[in-house]
Structures are given as structure tokens and as C-alpha cells.
Symmetry: C2
Subunit: 331 residues, 2 copies
Amino acid sequence: MAVYTDITDEELATLLADFDLGAPLSLKGVAEGVENSNFLLETEAGRFFLTIYEKRVSEADLPFFLGLMGWLAAHGYPSAPPIPARDGELLKRVRGKPCAIVAFLSGLSVRRPTAAHCREAGRGLAALHLAAEGFTLTRANNLGQAAWSPMFASLKADAEGLKPGLAAQIDADLAVLAAGWPQGLPTGVIHADYFPDNVFFQAGRFAGTIDFYFACCDALAYDIAVALNAWCFEADGSFNITSARALVAGYEALRPLSDAERAALPVLAHGAAMRFFLTRLHDWGATPAGALVRPKDPLEYERKLAVHRSSPDLVLFGAPASANASAGKPS
Amino acid sequence: MAVYTDITDEELATLLADFDLGAPLSLKGVAEGVENSNFLLETEAGRFFLTIYEKRVSEADLPFFLGLMGWLAAHGYPSAPPIPARDGELLKRVRGKPCAIVAFLSGLSVRRPTAAHCREAGRGLAALHLAAEGFTLTRANNLGQAAWSPMFASLKADAEGLKPGLAAQIDADLAVLAAGWPQGLPTGVIHADYFPDNVFFQAGRFAGTIDFYFACCDALAYDIAVALNAWCFEADGSFNITSARALVAGYEALRPLSDAERAALPVLAHGAAMRFFLTRLHDWGATPAGALVRPKDPLEYERKLAVHRSSPDLVLFGAPASANASAGKPS
């Protein structure tokens, strides 16, 4: 929920002069996306999103993000492609900041996903992984497992401030994750932020994915782990086995998991909880009191960490092997 | 810039079940309007604005506002009418708060209006006054001249905090305004917040007006005074005579002013500056440090007050009588 950069009608006219989109008809700042400034732009050619990239997005990564968005749309994935300017460029500048115009994608995100939504979301995630095959640009996951310990080094006091004793607990988690982190799993382009607010539905069916600004190359199953944390916890902190099973089944309907991927889901989910705990902890401490953005509560992910720590098998119930006798008994 | 109330997909579906607008296709929180929560809503029937009324808007006033919006659109004024529900009601509730669905109005507001924009804006304001003739509901101006002294009584310390000596200066202004406030001018429905961000243009021509949530019944010329303050000051605080003259000329092209109205413009403009100074001073003091809304600077209107206080004739240059010899010499 943020508009960091505001632009004038003159600046908009100057920008649009580089595009074949006709005259602007309306421009509305949208309370969406914490990382960038987003505007819903209507021109004579239709509706678009204008995104101005703020400092948290590295400009060097933008060709990967925009290239991926174009690639996915061109390969049949329901996502919003960037619109090239007349000179073929996807990236322009406004007020000295990089910006892009992206097609408008219809759809509604769900606030409280049902198991049926989770199945659809899983299918949409597998479709993303398959559609991205062949995309040649790469981007390392700079928020992946190797980054967590260095990141936490400067956040220990914040963790203790949240909850006394938490710093030692996180250190112990980090050691477990470092020792058990899976190697050699199938890799590819992952969304890395596949949360309900980034997934659109129409009439209950998966209808598209937005916000590719964390996309990177990593283990595909890690993306499932991120999604299990984001989609399958109830508001009271309990893990919904039915939703998890539906999400993985939806995924496997398009891309079956290998045994190694399935076996890795518990540690991947533990790690995915760590990644969002750490970035939320960082933002929590770094957000000034008067800021327009309300940071997300790091304790939500601290509770998810605790679930994975104490019940590592839990996630496996979401991914029953064909002859998994325990599938029937949610713990 | 505020979304105070967020609504879920289920709440939206429940609301839309009362309307003949088909299924929802997208919903975006819009960073627009400080008083209400606004969403750009797309359904199978088209595009709309969903507004949820927050505590600052009195629910008892909503029939006036919504009725006026419907009246204006029905009488050819470019504005967005509310959409009746199946039961004919304009007002519904979501999360216990009143809400309405309003048509989408295309257009872009201008950030730095030129004299040509001011002429168009003046024409649009006169058209509003004429289109509203015959609208039978009434609403007193609860932010009119009679309200200012009582309002300031509780804000003196805030004024002194802004600028030592300011409280006595404002008290003196209030006495001047009370003594000289014009009576018997032509009255009607006024917009009362006719600022550049509430006026749309297309290709340089006036294209519509939004945000009628301060509309009320008062002297029509007071609306011009509000607009002169909002449109005709430069960023450096100077009053742009050319813009003021264009605004009044644009207005008079549709609705010529009486001599009494023209003569009253200086005190009306002084008073209009007082009204916005006082509400901004109130919001400045009342906004908690962590709020999502950045209050507007009351000092901007304190400077406008000072201009009208020291050069009461200035505004008259914007409204030359047919034989006004002083029209040619901006002071």
C-alpha cells in the first residue's frame, strides 16, 4: 500500500510520447505493492499498469523481471506482459526513476483461500514453472538459504526485541537449515513470492499471476514451500492439511514431484518461513514511525517457523506419496 | 491517499449480489481521497468506483451527496452518478459502513494549471452551478463563515505552535470576516472543494468533476473564491492574476456575476483561505504520527490568508468589470 512517486500530467504525457498508446484518459495511483509505485493507466489504446521502480528493486534486475513477464505471456501463461516503447525498449524513466508500462490483467485475489483455491493455485504455480522453461536470462535468489545467516547477523537485537530468547532459537533454526538444505533438486525460474494477493481468480478458477519482482532461479519445490506457508495456514496459526494436500495435488496435476522433491518439502517449508520472517523482521525495524507503509508482522512467520520446527512431518501430509499410509491422519 | 477499509472477495460478492452489475472482475484500492476508502471496481457490466464512507463523512449527509451526483449526471453535467441497487437504493453497507457504487469517470487532473486550464475550470464550475438548479435537497455549509470562530477556539495553541503570533492574527482575520461577510448573494448548490485534483481534463478541455463530499448550499460566488485560492496561486506563493482573470472569465461565459458578487470576491477569497487553513490546522494537530495519511500543510493556506489580508483588491483583478480601469495593472 504505497505510492512513493507521484507524477504530473506533463510527465505522463512525456512518457507516453515514447509509446504507441495514444493519449492518456485517466491515471489512478493504486494502493498495491509495497516495493514500487503503481498506477492504473487508461489510454486511447486500453488499460495498463504503470510501475515506477523504487529503490528496493535493483535496476540491474529489471531486464530479468520484464523479460520473464514478456516470456510467460508469450508462452500462454496468464500474466501481464510489459508493453514495448516505439524504440523496442521495455524500460523507460520518469523523474529519473526506471518505469515500465505493463498490460492490465483482470482478476481478483482471495483473502481466505479455500482448499479449492489452493488446488487452483497449485496448478497455476506448476503452469508458471512449465511456461518459464526455455527462458534464458538468469537471476540468483539473493534471498535464498545462503543469505539467511548473514542477514540475521544484523537483526539479532530486533529478534530479541520481538520476543526474548528468539535470537538463539533462530540461530538454531539456521544451523538446522544449513545442515539439511537439499541439493540437486530440479531448478528453474520460481516466482518466490506466490502469496494469495499475487494470484488472481475468476469464478473460482486460477486466472493469472502478478508481481514477478522477486522471481529468480532456484529449486522449483522451494516455490511450493513458499506457497504452502502463504496459503495453507489458518488465521489462528494452525496448518490446514486439506489445503496443503490440495495445493500439492493441483501442482502435481501439471508437474509431478520427484521423490527427492517431495521428501525435501518439510525443510524447504521451514526455510521458506525463515526467509519471510527475516525480511519482515528487517522491514519492521527499518520502517520509520510516520511511514505510509505499514510493515507486515514478523511474528506471523515466527509462528510458522515454530510449526515447522516442532512438526517437520506436517508438510508431508500435504504431499502424499501414492502409498503413503499416514495421509489419512492429519496430526 | 488512504485505504482505511479493506474488503474481502466474499464481502464484495455479497455486496454485488444486491446490484445488476454481474460478477466482479477486478478490484484495486485507489490511493485517492482522504475522507473515504476508494476502490476501482471492474465487473461484467463495466468499470465503477466503490466508495466506503469513513467516519469523517456523516451518514445523514449521504442522501444529499448521492442525490446531487445523480441529479448532476442526469442534467448533463460530466460527473459520475451513483448506481442504484436492485431495490433502488443508492446506499449499501459493507463491514457495517455505508458504501456506494458510482460510475467511472475518465479524465486527468492537472498538477500545475495554466491560465487556459483555469478558464476551463471556471466554465466547469459555472456549469455545475447551473446544472444543480432545481435540485431540491439541501445541506447547510457546516464549514461556512459562522463555523470558523468556534472552530478556531480549540486550535489557538496549534496556531501558535505553527508560528508564534499567529493566533492573534487569525483572531483579527476572523473579526474582519465576521464584520464584512456578504449577505444576500445568490445561493445554490456549491462544490465547496473545487481543487485541481477534483477536476478532470481531456486534451486541455474541462471533462468533469469528482468528489462532491463537501457540497452544500451557500453563496455561489464563494465557490469561485475557493477555486481562486486553489487554482491561481503559484508554488512560490504569488497570486497569478492572469489565471484568476481566466477562471472568472470562464465562469462568466456561462453565468455572469452580479456587481454584488464581483465586489464580494475579495472577502470571499479571504474567507475561503480561512476555511482551508482551519481544517488543515485541525488535521495537522489531529493526525497521529504513524497514520497512513500525510496531512496537508496548513502553512500553505496561512500564506494565502496573508496575501488576502494585505492585498484585498488583488482578487478583483481577476474579475474585471467591463470598465475596470485597474484591470491592466497587476499589483
